[in-house]
């Protein structure tokens, strides 16, 4: 319960921060949007549309009630387009990329981490660790460019960018961005898996199961693996913010119509309402992801549920 309260508190703080930030813009946002040559009348009209001509508390009130109803105003540049429709269409693409990245990173990272700890092959552990250091050091956008160079331009196997018309076609467009972003998340998961597998392997119950004659493979799959999967829930939750940041850049490289592209366009056009909407919605996604990770952890791990 305290988790939920804290999350709500942070969301309120986030909304207030965004509210203040737009009011911090030096000069008059309306003037900036319209340019120096705008008539005073046009500026006054835009100020009215933005609600800037009212008192600060009144602005804050209407802003909050609007947010609670899911209203975030309409784009200043594209007439008649609501901020929520822009943000939600972008968010769908971005979260698809993020979800694919998580699946890919877990599918590759967990076996790699377990294998490097448990295998007796000399050098495997060093190799896996070295590879993860190299991948972690390469920014996702550079990996993305390399992938385009190899798989799109040389091998002509996958598209260099864009987005499909329907879900089945999206998969082809999704693969390279997700691989690029996995170069950030994958090594993080390999490291965490290594650490928790090492810790789990040292527990007395593992020795006990081995002593009872249960096959090592079964011990790994039934006892060590679940124990090393648990911390990953928190880890992925904590990394959602970084993944969205990474996705913003990867989207720019692969020309995906995600929230990053919405934001970049809004930034270049000084579309304040859209910028405000993107900031709030992405922050809410991060807070919700952290909350979900906390809740999921208590559901999955009986020790935490009953331990208190």
């Amino acid at each position: 319960m305290t988790d939920v309260l804290q999350a709500v508190l942070i969301m309120v703080l986030v909304a207030v921060l965004v509210f203040l930030i737009v009011r911090l813009i030096p000069g008059d946002p309306a003037q900036q949007v319209l340019g120096q040559k705008a008539t005073p009348r046009a500026v006054a009209a835009l100020r009215h549309q933005l609600g800037l001509d009212r008192s600060l508390p009144a602005q804050l009130w209407s802003y909050f009630t609007g947010l609670l109803h899911g209203r975030m105003g309409s784009s200043l540049v594209e007439q008649g387009v609501t901020v929520s429709s822009l943000v939600l269409s972008g968010l769908g693409v971005t979260l698809t990329v993020v979800a694919a990245t998580v699946v890919l990173s877990v599918a590759a990272g967990v076996p790699a981490g377990l294998w490097s700890v448990l295998s007796r092959l000399p050098g495997l552990d060093v190799g896996v660790r070295g590879l993860s250091v190299v991948l972690l050091a390469s920014p996702p956008f550079f990996v993305g460019l390399l992938l385009i160079l190899v798989f799109s331009l040389e091998l002509h196997a996958l598209p260099a960018g864009g987005w499909g018309a329907h879900a089945a076609a999206d998969a082809r467009y999704l693969l390279l961005p997700a691989v690029a972003l996995s170069c950030y998340l994958g090594p993080v998961i390999v490291r965490a898996t290594r650490q928790s597998a090492l810790a789990a392997a040292r527990q007395p119950f593992v020795e006990a199961t081995l002593a009872r004659g249960i096959s090592p493979r079964r011990v790994v799959l039934a006892h060590i693996l679940p124990n090393s999967l648990l911390p990953l829930i928190t880890l992925v939750g904590l990394n959602i913010g970084w993944l969205i940041s990474g996705a913003v850049v990867v989207e720019a490289v692969f020309a995906l119509p995600g929230i990053g592209q919405v934001l970049v366009q809004a930034v270049s056009e000084l579309d304040y309402t859209v910028i405000q909407g993107v900031a709030i919605v992405t922050a809410l996604v991060v807070v919700l992801a952290n909350l979900l990770a906390d809740v999921a952890y208590t559901v999955v791990d009986p020790r935490i549920r009953h331990g208190r």
């Binding site: 703080l13 911090l24 250091v133 390469s138 920014p139 550079f142 460019l145 913003v248 490289v253 930034v267």
Partner: protein, 300 residues
């Protein structure tokens, strides 16, 4: 008290020794730290010195456009016939200097804010800092930076920083301290409970002295270890700004800007994009080695 009086100088030395003992131990023992540090010094040295002595200027049109890598031009030339090698090394100065400055300032400010908040007796002060940091960190990093760049205005300019860089720098600094403050606060809260802090309080030491002389030395190794990892993130973020339409403006060379310019010619002249990217990754690799070794040093 009289025993302790007059030992200011040795105590200062001892404090400094304590503050950096974790770091120094890690440097002395770990091969990773030495390899990473050596590689980093090599890269920084090359970025600072080579453009001074290289025959081609960074913005001069010295050869045919899209010339592949050769002995005279190890990284080839770009669409305007500029030498990519010298541009890459000169560009590295910006990336490395910005990362170093941002990390140094953020680390110092965040460590002090976090240590003060964590050791404060006033619960509300500590909690206010914690919640503020939570709210800042809730925004995805790049989203916050882009929003801040808009607020500062991309054309703002302070001092000698190249056009477009000032807004990015300010944005980095507004956000940077938060991670350090969170780490430092958590560490200070555990140190505050220790017996020697309680003893210092009973002895009537002033608050400031307790924080700076007794709590801070325990906090610094933790934040410094994170600072090296933060430098990788800062460099990665800075070089990705060109792809988002903010940051250093052409013709000033910067790794991300060079890669962005080369992206359009990826199929015919891969070297414009790949060479700066490899140097960026190599710098990140050196810093990872350093961070790994330091973290291990701070642990024991």
């Amino acid at each position: 008290m009289s025993v302790l009086a007059g030992t200011g100088a040795p105590a200062g030395r001892a404090r400094r020794a304590l503050m950096f003992s974790g770091v120094r131990r890690a440097v002395g023992r770990s091969a990773a730290v030495r390899a990473g540090g050596g590689l980093l010094i090599l890269i920084i040295g090359a970025c600072v010195l080579v453009p001074v002595f290289w025959p081609d200027a960074t913005n001069a049109f010295v050869t045919a456009p899209f010339a592949p890598p050769s002995l005279a031009h190890p990284f080839g030339s770009d669409d305007l016939g500029r030498d990519v090698f010298v541009r890459t090394l000169a560009g590295g100065r910006i990336d490395i200097a910005v990362a170093a400055a941002v990390v140094a300032i953020s680390c110092t400010a965040g460590t002090i804010i976090g240590a003060c908040a964590g050791s404060s007796k006033r619960r509300w002060a500590s909690l206010t800092v914690a919640r503020l940091v939570d709210a800042f960190i809730a925004f995805p990093y790049l989203v916050t930076i882009l929003v801040l760049v808009v607020i500062v205005g991309p054309s703002a300019q302070i001092g000698p920083a190249p056009r477009g860089l000032t807004a990015v720098l300010i944005a980095f600094l507004v956000l940077g301290w938060t991670f350090y403050a969170r780490l430092a606060r958590a560490e200070a809260m555990t140190i505050r409970q220790r017996d020697y802090i309680v003893a210092a309080e009973i002895l009537g030491y002033p608050r400031r002295k307790i924080i700076f002389r007794h709590i801070l030395p325990g906090v610094v190794p933790v934040t410094i270890a994170y600072a090296v990892a933060d430098a990788i993130l800062t460099m990665g973020a800075l070089s990705s700004f060109a792809f988002l339409g903010v940051g250093v403006q052409p013709p000033t060379p910067e790794w991300g800007a060079i890669m962005y310019e080369g992206r359009a010619y990826l199929d015919s002249a891969w070297w414009i994009t790949v060479c700066p990217g490899l140097l960026l990754a190599l710098t990140g690799f050196a810093l990872s080695l350093l961070a790994d070794g330091l973290l291990r040093g701070a642990d024991d």
